[in-house]
């Protein structure tokens, strides 16, 4: 089992969510995050005053999938969230040791 964490542009959320739903992925965790990578923060100068935007708003999606699904999911996110511009985001794939459903106590594949 793997956890896929994708940091994407906020306006891409709906598209990515729909695309993943179509693939049969029904559950995900979404959070509003801020940060910066290569895009850095930027400085806006407007009417003489500076507005420093040091952390840029992004959306984080977290999904747990079986290892066999990872490639397909990552590709789908990459295709959907891509605008070709800087700041499109990143995808991380992490190993997951165990998944447990709180209500039933099911583990592993059944609990995803």
């Amino acid at each position: 089992m793997k956890k896929i964490e994708a940091i994407i542009k906020p306006f891409k959320l709906d598209e990515v969510k729909d695309a993943l739903n179509e693939m049969g992925i029904k559950g995900m965790t979404i959070s509003e995050v801020k940060g910066y990578g290569r895009q850095k923060g930027h400085k806006e100068i407007y009417r003489g005053a500076e507005y420093i935007v040091d952390f840029i708003p992004k959306v984080k999606i977290e999904i747990i999938v079986e290892a066999a699904m990872v490639d397909a999911v990552v590709t789908k996110i990459r295709e959907t969230a891509n605008t070709g511009k800087i700041g499109d985001g990143k995808i991380f794939v992490l190993p997951v040791e165990e998944v447990i459903r709180v209500r039933t106590g099911e583990t592993g594949k059944e609990a995803i």
Binding site: E32, K34, E44, I45, Y46, G48, A49, F55, P57, T83
Partner: protein, 852 residues
């Protein structure tokens, strides 16, 4: 086996309820059923009898027993009966517990009762409703009399204070966000506890037994009694069903029950509103009725019994309105009928002074709503007072809430009726629509325009109206923003707004979600899209209004609607649109379309008059103006005959004016322009400076007048003449500036605490230019001195932004040295820094102190 019998009886009751028995009759029947059972139990228990009295307390004492309410009992006993108590309590209480009822029970002597009642206010009020069920009547009567003697008589004021304090604490606890969506019909504001509080006080303090008696005593009006009674009946039915539905003692209208309740009470969905929304609207309205009536009741009683207030002196603030004991009063019914706009004036005064409106005057407002007719809705005086509240009230939420509760707001703006107490059946909108609108006005007031980067707002009243009315179109099946924008046109007309103001209000209401939705759902790096946004918004002022409205709207929606994360996205899109709007022309091609395309447009516009060689126009210049203006500049260029001549043209953009200056470029040209503008009382806000390849300078300076002065009053011709003199070196700008502002000299020793001036030279922020920032305390002629200094170093200024931040100004210059390269040499940088610091630290240029 008795509990089986009891259970069967209660099942029978539920059966009756299913057959349609509800309201008071159900409560009475339930009480009777329990009464019969307990009386029988008591009679059948051999040990029960002498020296004992079984007493019903609280709601049960009042015979208002809801299906799963607690059954509060007191076994009152004489000290001698102590030994016989055990079997009696077993016989009475065990079957009740076995039947699954919630029993609140106490076994006390008379003295213990009084002692406990002194300690515990809740027990004290429970005793108010004490009712004898079985056993010794004399014992009960003795307790009853002792209780009144010890705790009520002679303690009336204390009793009232306690009651009011508990009521306030309860309102606070149950007024939080979660209870807005899911009202607690017992404890929330306007719930059963408020009804009881009023009845207890009437009963204990004035011996009034019911609503009828309270009305006859003049504590509430007949109209109040009627709507109060209806609300009460309605809430009883709701609570009965809620208990049966939940299968337990639950008094909070949880989300999951709301729909089922609405269906049960035959609220069906129509186009535009769900049944459950109209059901909740009725609930909120009834809760509000009870809240308003009991508020007024308590204020009235408090005034009657309470300590005399300070400030007994009466002060008339306008005919018909006085201040007495820190409350505003309407004093003259005849005058109100003659000048009904006094009703609104009362609220304007409440807003201005921050004083509360006396409860009697609130009732007077409510009783005079018939005077608010179509004519009054068109009255200028009325509109003025109303807008005064919106714009200037100290606590605008409080004043508008009272205006809503008295009914004046809906009478004045009938469009409000549709959304009054309208609930939205989701977890996102915490408040009913009307409250949300009032909240938005309050949130808007908290936002300081100075904290935003955007242009000022010329008509704050239009923005405040937009906040108050942006959701006015809700409750219909059409798009609420669209419907709202149509409705507000009519409202604006009645309020006497001008054509442009009306258009602006309608625009704001129609687009109130635009920025928020766009910021979240669209690619903010899509230049074409941003340009479309700018085209829709049209002016920087509208953008500012929309930006402020979006924030206020979100903050007033609920705890989850506004986050800093959203704020960052909103700021980003707004800044992007603002940059485009500042360039005035939104059809401007972006860089991808290139300068070549622009040049072709200019040529097409000018035809034969077009210059043969377009390459004299630098790319950056071409990308900064629309083709029409470039063509205009080229035509003006033909009028420049001499080296030392300037063409000056002014234009009015409302929030600022712009001055176009065209001249042959020369060292110090910008300094002379800035000096001349200062001499004519104009502050430069920003500047764009270009030089064509043929040496023509095209400078556009955005300015604001230093004094209150209209565009027409400004002597533009004299400005042009002076600039020409300055260019011919015939005008001594330095001494004239000092002369002109000598009157503004500040007496020594009055200097404010000011931040130290500083100069920052930055080569990183811009790829192309060296950015020089000067932070200085503002004074007339400062910009002239700075630009002159830069000219001495042969530094070319290509763009400038001047803004003030309190006392300090921040002047930002995009510069290149005389070889058109960035200023990289550290020692040269230091030299420039020192020279500019010298200028910035020198408060007047002559050493004297200036006030600006």
């Amino acid at each position: 086996m008795v509990d089986v019998e009891l259970r069967a009886k209660r099942d029978a009751l539920e059966y009756l309820w299913r057959q349609g028995l509800s309201g008071q009759p159900l409560l009475h029947k339930h009480s009777q059923l329990i009464d019969d059972y307990l009386v029988a139990c008591f009679a059948n228990c051999p040990e029960a009898g002498e020296g004992m009295s079984l007493v019903a307390l609280g709601g049960y004492g009042r015979r208002e027993l809801f299906p799963y309410s607690d059954i509060d009992l007191l076994l009152l006993h004489a000290p001698e009966a102590e030994d016989r108590l055990d079997p009696v309590t077993q016989a009475l209480f065990y079957p009740l517990w076995d039947a699954g009822l919630e029993v609140g029970h106490g076994v006390r002597t008379l003295d213990a009762c009084l002692a406990d009642a002194r300690q515990d206010f809740f027990f004290q009020v429970a005793l108010l409703d004490a009712r004898h069920l079985a056993g010794s009547q004399p014992l009960f009567t003795a307790m009853h009399q002792a209780f009144h003697k010890a705790l009520i008589a002679g303690h009336r004021r204390e009793f009232l204070q306690n009651m009011m304090q508990h009521r306030n604490e309860r309102h606070q606890r149950y007024g939080m966000h979660s209870y807005q969506l899911e009202p607690h019909i017992k404890e929330s504001r306007g719930g059963f506890r408020d009804i009881q509080a009023m009845l207890w006080v009437s009963h204990a303090l004035f011996g009034l037994q019911d609503l009828q008696a309270i009305e006859e005593a003049g504590l509430i009006s007949p109209q109040e009694k009627e709507s109060f009674g209806q609300a009460w009946d309605f809430l009883i039915k709701i609570r009965n069903r809620l208990h049966y539905l939940s299968g337990r003692k639950n008094d909070q209208l949880f989300f999951e029950y709301q729909e089922e309740m609405a269906k049960a009470f035959r609220y069906s969905s129509t186009r535009g509103t769900l049944g459950v929304e109209r059901f909740m609207q009725d609930i909120y309205r009834h809760l509000q009725t009870i809240a308003t009536t009991t508020d007024l009741f308590f204020e009235h009683v408090d005034e009657t019994l309470g300590a005399p207030r300070a400030n007994p002196v009466e002060q008339t603030i306008e005919p018909g309105i006085t201040v007495r004991q820190d409350r505003l009063h309407l004093t003259d019914q005849a005058l109100i009928e003659k000048r009904p706009y006094l009703l609104m004036r009362l609220f304007a005064h409440a807003g201005k002074t921050g004083l509360e409106i006396h409860h009697r005057s609130r009732k007077i407002v409510a009783a005079n709503l018939h005077l608010v007719d179509d004519r009054l809705r068109h009255s200028k005086r009325m509109a003025k007072a109303f807008l005064d509240v919106l714009e200037n009230a100290r606590d605008v939420l409080e004043v508008l809430s009272v205006m809503l509760e008295t009914g004046l707001l809906t009478a004045y703006i009938p469009e409000f009726e549709q959304i009054r107490a309208l609930a939205q059946h989701d977890v996102y909108h915490v408040f009913t629509v009307d409250r949300h609108l009032l909240q938005t006005v309050a949130e808007l007031k908290k936002l300081s325009i100075n904290k935003t980067p955007f242009a000022g707002v010329e008509s704050p009243h239009v923005l405040a109206l937009a906040a108050l009315l942006h959701d006015i179109g809700k409750g219909h099946h059409e798009d609420h923003a669209q419907r709202g924008s149509e409705l507000v046109t009519g409202i604006a007309k009645r309020l006497g707004l001008t054509g442009p103001e009306t258009a602006c209000l309608s625009f704001l209401v129609e687009k109130h979600l635009f920025l928020t939705v766009t910021a979240l759902r669209r690619d903010l790096e899509d230049d074409v899209f941003i340009r479309q946004c700018a085209e829709q918004i049209q002016t920087p002022e509208r953008l500012t209004m929309l930006y402020l409205l979006s924030i206020a709207d979100a903050k007033a929606t609920g705890p989850t609607a506004w986050t800093e994360w959203k704020g960052a996205l909103l700021l980003e899109i707004s800044l992007k649109i603002a940059h485009l709007l500042e360039r005035k022309d939104t059809t401007l091609p972006d860089k991808s379309q290139g300068a070549g395309w622009m040049l072709a447009q200019v040529r097409a516009l000018m035809g034969k008059a077009a210059p043969a060689d377009g390459t004299i126009l630098p790319e950056e210049y071409l990308l900064s103006f629309p083709p029409e203006e470039v063509a205009h500049h080229l035509r003006l260029r033909a009028g420049l005959k001499h080296e030392k001549q300037a063409i000056t043209e002014a234009a009015n953009h409302k929030l600022f004016w712009s001055v176009l200056v065209m001249a042959h470029d020369s060292t110090g040209l910008l300094a002379k322009i800035c000096g001349t503008l200062a001499l004519h009382g104009l502050n430069v806000v920003s500047a764009q400076i270009f030089t064509w390849e043929d040496g023509t300078a095209v400078d556009v300076l955005n300015v604001r007048p230093a004094a209150e002065q209209s565009y027409a009053e400004q002597d533009w011709r004299a400005l042009g003449e002076d600039l020409n003199l300055a260019l011919k070196n015939r005008l001594g700008l330095s001494h004239r500036l000092v002369d002109k502002f000598r009157a503004a000299y500040r007496a020594p020793g009055q200097k404010n605490v000011q931040a130290a001036p500083r100069v920052v030279i930055d080569n990183k922020a811009s790829e192309q230019y060296t950015i020089i920032e000067v932070f200085a305390n503002d004074r007339p002629g400062l910009l002239y001195d700075i630009t002159r200094t830069l000219a001495d170093f042969e530094i070319n200024i290509h763009r400038a932004r001047i803004s003030s931040d309190g006392d300090q100004v921040v002047d930002v210059f995009y510069t290149l040295d005389s070889f058109a390269t960035k200023i990289n040499n550290p020692s040269f940088q230091e030299e420039i820094s020192k020279a500019l610091l010298h200028i910035a630290e020198n408060e007047t240029g002559t050493g004297a102190k200036l006030q600006w």
